[in-house]
C-alpha cells in the first residue's frame, strides 16, 4: 500500500517535468496575446460554446478543490492517504488559478451556482472520506472519470474553432493538460483501492450522475 502510493507519486513528478501549457498562465509573459486577449473573429455560436465550456470548466475546478478540501478535512492527518490527497488538491489549486485567469481573459460569465458547487463539493468529499479512505478514492475515481470525458468532448468541440488567434491553440493545450492530470488522479485513485469501497458500483453511479447534472446546470446558469 505504501509502495504503490510512492511509485504513483514518483510517476507524477516525472510527468510534471514535461512542458506544461498552463505555465503560460502561471508565469505569464508581459503583453502575450495568447494569455491576455480573446478572439474576436469567432461566430456567435462558437462564442456561446466557448462561454459555456469555460464556465463549466471553472465551476468544475472550484468543485474539485472543495471535494479535496472536504476529503483532507477528514483524512488529512492519515499518513498513508493524507499526503496523496494534499498532492492532488495542490494540482487542482493550480488548475483553478489558470481557470480564473482564462475566465477574465475570455470575458466568461462565471456560474451563479458557484456557492452551491463549493458546498456540494465539500459535502461530497467529507461524506465519502467519513465512509473510509477507499470510498474517498472511489469518489475521486468517479469524479475524475466524468471530468476526463468532459474535457475530451470539449477538445472535439474546440477543433472547429479558428486557430489564427494564439489563445485558441493555447486553450486546447491547457484543456489537454488538465484532462491528462484528471486521468492521472483517476489512476491514482484506482491504484489506491478505490474499487474496494463499500457499494462501489452504487457510489460511482450516484457520484457520476451528480457530476453530469452539475455540468448541465453550470452550462446554462
Amino acid at each position: 500500500m505504501f509502495a504503490s502510493s510512492t511509485v504513483t507519486r514518483g510517476l507524477s513528478r516525472c510527468f510534471n517535468r514535461r512542458f506544461l501549457a498552463s505555465q503560460a498562465y502561471i508565469r505569464p509573459t508581459p503583453n502575450d496575446a495568447a494569455t491576455s486577449t480573446t478572439p474576436s473573429n469567432i461566430t456567435l455560436e462558437q462564442h456561446a460554446a466557448l462561454d459555456s465550456a469555460l464556465r463549466v470548466d471553472h465551476a468544475g475546478e472550484v468543485a474539485a478543490n472543495w471535494i479535496y478540501r472536504g476529503q483532507h478535512f477528514v483524512l488529512g492527518k492519515q499518513p498513508d492517504v493524507g499526503p496523496l490527497i494534499q498532492e492532488m488538491w495542490d494540482q487542482e489549486k493550480k488548475h483553478l488559478a489558470v481557470m480564473d485567469k482564462m475566465q477574465i481573459q475570455h470575458r466568461i460569465r462565471p456560474t451563479i451556482l458557484i456557492e452551491a458547487a463549493k458546498i456540494g463539493g465539500f459535502g461530497l468529499g467529507a461524506v465519502t472520506a467519513l465512509m473510509g479512505k477507499e470510498a474517498a478514492m472511489a469518489c475521486t475515481e468517479a469524479v475524475e472519470t466524468v471530468i476526463g470525458e468532459h474535457y475530451d468532448d470539449q477538445l472535439k468541440e474546440m477543433e472547429s474553432f479558428p486557430s489564427d488567434h494564439p489563445s485558441i491553440p493555447l486553450l486546447r493545450e491547457v484543456v489537454k493538460e488538465f484532462r491528462d492530470d484528471e486521468l492521472e488522479h483517476l489512476d491514482i485513485a484506482v491504484i489506491n483501492h478505490a474499487q474496494r469501497a463499500p457499494a462501489h458500483a452504487l457510489l460511482s453511479t450516484v457520484v457520476g450522475m451528480g457530476c453530469k447534472v452539475a455540468i448541465e446546470l453550470c452550462k446554462r446558469f
Binding site: V62, D100, Q103, I104, R107, R109, P110, I112, I114, E115
Partner: protein, 206 residues
C-alpha cells in the same frame, strides 16, 4: 459574410449617424443609401434622379416590417455606442452619457427587457475596460452595481441633462466607497473569526 449582408451592415452603420437628424425612424434607414461611399450625397430629386432614398418595400425587406425596422436601428445604435466605448480614448463615463439616450429610453419604454440587456452590456463593457478582475459572485455584484448606476444616470439625464455628469460621478464615488466599506467589514469579521478559533483551540475545545 455575403455581399448583400455586408451592404446591409454598411447601410445600418450609416443610418445610426442619421439618428441625430432623423431620429429612430424608417426615414433614417431609407436615406442611408444616399451616404454610401461611392454615391454622391444628394439632397433633392432635382440634383440626381438616379440617387433616391430606399423605398418602403426595400426598407422592409432589408430591416423588417413596421416597427421591426426601428428596433433594428435602435439595436445598431446601441451596438455603435458600445463599440465607441471600447475604441475611444475618452474616459468611458463621458461616452456613457454622450449618446443622447433620450430617444432610446422613449423607444424602449414599453418593453423593459431590451433596456435591461443594454444596461448589462454597458456594465460588462465598462467592467472590462476598467480591467476588473472580480471573480465568482463578486463578478455579478460589480455588474449589477454598474448597470444600476448607468440606468439611474440615463434616467437622470432625461430630466436634467446638465447635471448628469456630476450625478454619475457621485454614484460611482458612492459605489466605490460602499465596496471599500464592505471589504473592511469582511476583513474585520475574518479577524474576529480567526481570533475566536485560536482562543477555542488554545483551550482545547477545537
Amino acid at each position: 459574410m455575403s455581399a448583400s449582408s455586408l451592404k446591409r451592415t454598411q447601410l445600418l452603420k450609416i443610418a445610426t449617424s442619421l439618428v441625430k437628424t432623423h431620429g429612430f425612424t424608417r426615414e433614417a434607414l431609407a436615406r442611408s443609401v444616399l451616404y454610401l461611399p461611392n454615391q454622391k450625397h444628394v439632397e433633392s430629386k432635382q440634383d440626381n434622379e438616379d440617387c433616391q432614398p430606399l423605398s418602403d418595400t426595400a426598407v422592409s425587406s432589408l430591416f423588417g416590417f413596421g416597427d421591426a425596422a426601428r428596433t433594428t436601428l435602435i439595436y445598431a445604435w446601441l451596438d455603435e455606442g458600445i463599440n465607441h466605448m471600447s475604441n475611444s480614448s475618452q474616459p468611458a463615463r463621458n461616452i456613457f452619457l454622450g449618446r443622447e439616450p433620450a430617444f432610446t429610453w422613449l423607444s424602449l419604454q414599453f418593453d423593459p427587457l431590451p433596456a435591461l440587456k443594454h444596461a448589462h452590456r454597458i456594465a460588462d463593457e465598462a467592467a472590462y475596460l476598467s480591467m476588473d478582475t472580480s471573480r465568482e459572485l463578486a463578478w455579478y455584484a460589480r455588474r449589477i452595481s454598474l448597470a444600476g448606476i448607468y440606468s439611474a444616470a440615463e434616467l437622470h439625464q432625461l430630466t436634467s441633462p446638465s447635471t448628469a455628469h456630476s450625478f454619475l460621478d457621485s454614484l460611482l464615488t458612492g459605489s466605490s466607497s460602499l465596496e471599500q466599506k464592505l471589504d473592511d467589514v469582511m476583513l474585520y469579521s475574518d479577524y474576529v473569526y480567526k481570533s475566536w478559533k485560536g482562543i477555542l483551540k488554545s483551550r482545547g475545545m477545537l
